[in-house]
Amino acid sequence: MASESIAIGRLDAPARQIGEILHDWVTTVDHKKLGLLYIMYAILFLVIGGIEATIMRIQLIVPHNNFVSPQVFNEMFTMHGTTMIFFVAMPIVFGFGNYFVPLMIGARDMAFPRLNAFSFWISAFGGLLLYFSFVGGNGLYGAGNAPDVGWFAYAPLTAKAFSLGHSTDFWTLGLLVSGIGSIGTATNLIATVLCLRCPGMTLGKMPLFAWMNLVMAGLVLLAVSPLTAAQVMLSLDRYLGAHFFDTQAGGSAVLWMHFFWIFGHPEVYVLVIPAFAFVSEIIPVFSRKPIFGYPIMVGATVSIGFLSFLVWAHHMFTVGMNSYANSFFAISTMLVGVPTGIKIFNWIATMWGGKIRFGTPMLFCIAFLLQFLIAGLTGIMLSVAPFDWQLGNSYFVVAHFHYVIVGGILFGLFGAFYYWFPKMSGRMYNDALSKWHFWLFLIGFHLTFDFMHIPGLLGMPRRIYTYEPGRGWDVWNLIVTIGVFFQGAGILIFVGNLLWSSLKGKFAGNDPWDAWTLEWSTASPPPEYNFATLPTVNSRRPLWDIKHPEDPD
């Protein structure tokens, strides 16, 4: 077979110099290498953002703690939020999209390989720019260093008068620059899916993974651009004395909120739709059944994408909008629950009656289902405007969106890591360590984020650097912080497992899961050209057809 001779050719190749390998990675335009670069870059920032979260939780473990100063605490929550959204979650989903969309649709690369490299490097540069603020943010004023305005950077905190030095500028420029990379990658994903599908793969036969990446990329184009525009306005305010968000000159602080959240809410779906994509590939393979309700899944994804642009002001109920706006955004937010609920039923129906294999990818997907459901339910609670007036900006909200992002998106991502690790590295992960990762992280997640709802209900606001004893918040904060160490231990095992297994793990073979999509038909890791001959497909499960010629889809 062609793929086997390729593997042998690789083993015979002489060992290369480190400089040569480095040069190869820096100058690569190969979608798989860029995908891995995205993923490795995101894991690095995941550890950094995790350390920032840990610092915050240590500060809050007991009342009147002096672990860090209020100034540093503000910097930590700003950098934690910004890092996790822009430099962990987005690059990681782009990494998986980059790596697997071309493989799944039977293409040899992305539509624009050089644009792909440009997008990665400019996004990476954006992250460096943000973190350079720790060194360069002082400016000439000696005021602060890292940005401390919160991840949504409400005006007028970002005005020159309240944010001296360059810290806010590093935040603005870092996001602006990485936004350009995001738009480049989204363009690339859309063009790849629409223009490079292998013969026979009509839109209706495309794996759900490709469909959901297509919708995600569309959301990126329309959602990240408003943020870019708002960042340009903020820069004009700060550098040229414009008055967009300057209330002294008639400008509006609320306008920034609208501009930020018209980005900020679709952004949640930019991140969660790829998680849906992972789950929609893993659950069928591990239940030994095709996905239930494929067309409905596509329709639900598109309608979630559409609805996500109509709900942004539910982040602003406490700002004081009129009752029409409140009603509109409350109802549109509740509507999101409909297509999302359909998806959850479809995944359960896929598992129903299947021969379920409880491998680690599947464990993460099952946890995803339960946790994402709870996250959605607290979301419905918060969509009720009067309820939100009570709990807006409290730890209940923090617990809600971490349930979405950690309990939903991150669990989906971990499932994806274990599912595709054999394909990306050619080797199996260590199964015992992966189970330790799962259980430690699951316990830690629930200790932290289940109990975080309670101080929120008891009135603890977010972003406070300390609190008075005797308000009934103490024990909950203690439990929440203890959970963080379980999660940290899980993450360390995860990173260690990836590093060790990619060097020493057992060889995985082309298709360790007996799966059905095209990426499993080529070598692990795939050769640079992916497919020796471009495949032709006749159904949604091309590998099923080949393995079961007597019973094709």
């Binding site: 629409l194 013969p199 959602a223 525009a229 340009v232 001959t533 495949p535 590998l543």
Partner: protein
């Protein structure tokens, strides 16, 4: 199954997919539209909210000539692409040059308008909300015109040195989509700034 071979495409099968250049450009246009939308919303939201003068009525004049030039350039670039598709490289060069000149006139007229506003009327980006929103919206558009003109100039140089061949017509066509977009945005900007806002 250690290795799976997949059947290769049969020769008679018709498998036509959209051009990646056009799809890519439409994606860029979608993203740019979102950016312009935000700036237009800011412009409309801040109409009449300036706490000091001057107001649009005091200082703005309709840029009729510049608008005619810019909108005509959409026609000339269309003719240029059509010529190249029909393998008439000479005609392509002429239409392309005309596009460059018309776009250049538009940019020059914008520059003149800004000079007049800054030095004669004392309106800068920091004067009031009108100045802030006016210079940023019109400036964002002018920035896109500038980028377009730079790209047209590069292609013009390549044409002069004889590097442009009829088989490049698809690239010219993809670029012309961008140029048409810049022109249609001007219709929106013109309507918002010079008609509704004045």
């Amino acid at each position: 199954m250690s290795s799976t071979s997949l059947p290769s495409p049969s020769a008679e099968m018709q498998w036509v997919l959209p051009s990646r250049g056009r799809v890519g450009m439409f994606c860029l246009i979608a993203a740019e539209t979102a950016i312009f939308t935000i700036f237009v919303i800011a412009y409309i939201f801040y109409l009449g909210k300036s706490v000091s003068g001057p107001t649009p009525k005091d200082v703005l004049e309709l840029p009729i000539f510049a608008s005619i030039c810019l909108l005509s350039s959409s026609l000339t670039i269309h003719m240029a692409v059509k010529s190249l598709r029909n393998a008439k490289v000479g005609a392509f060069g002429l239409w392309w040059l005309l596009t460059l000149v018309l776009g250049g006139i538009f940019l020059g007229e914008t520059g003149r308008e800004w000079y007049h506003l800054i030095y004669d009327k004392g309106l800068t980006i920091s004067t009031n909300l009108f100045g802030t929103t006016y210079y940023s919206l019109v400036g964002l558009h002018a920035f896109h015109v500038t980028v377009g003109l730079l790209m047209i100039s590069v292609a013009m140089l390549l044409t002069v040195f004889g590097k442009v061949k009829p088989e490049h017509h698809e690239r010219a066509d993809v670029f012309s989509l961008y140029w048409h977009f810049v022109d249609s945005i001007w219709i929106v900007v013109f309507t918002v700034v010079y008609i509704i806002g004045r």
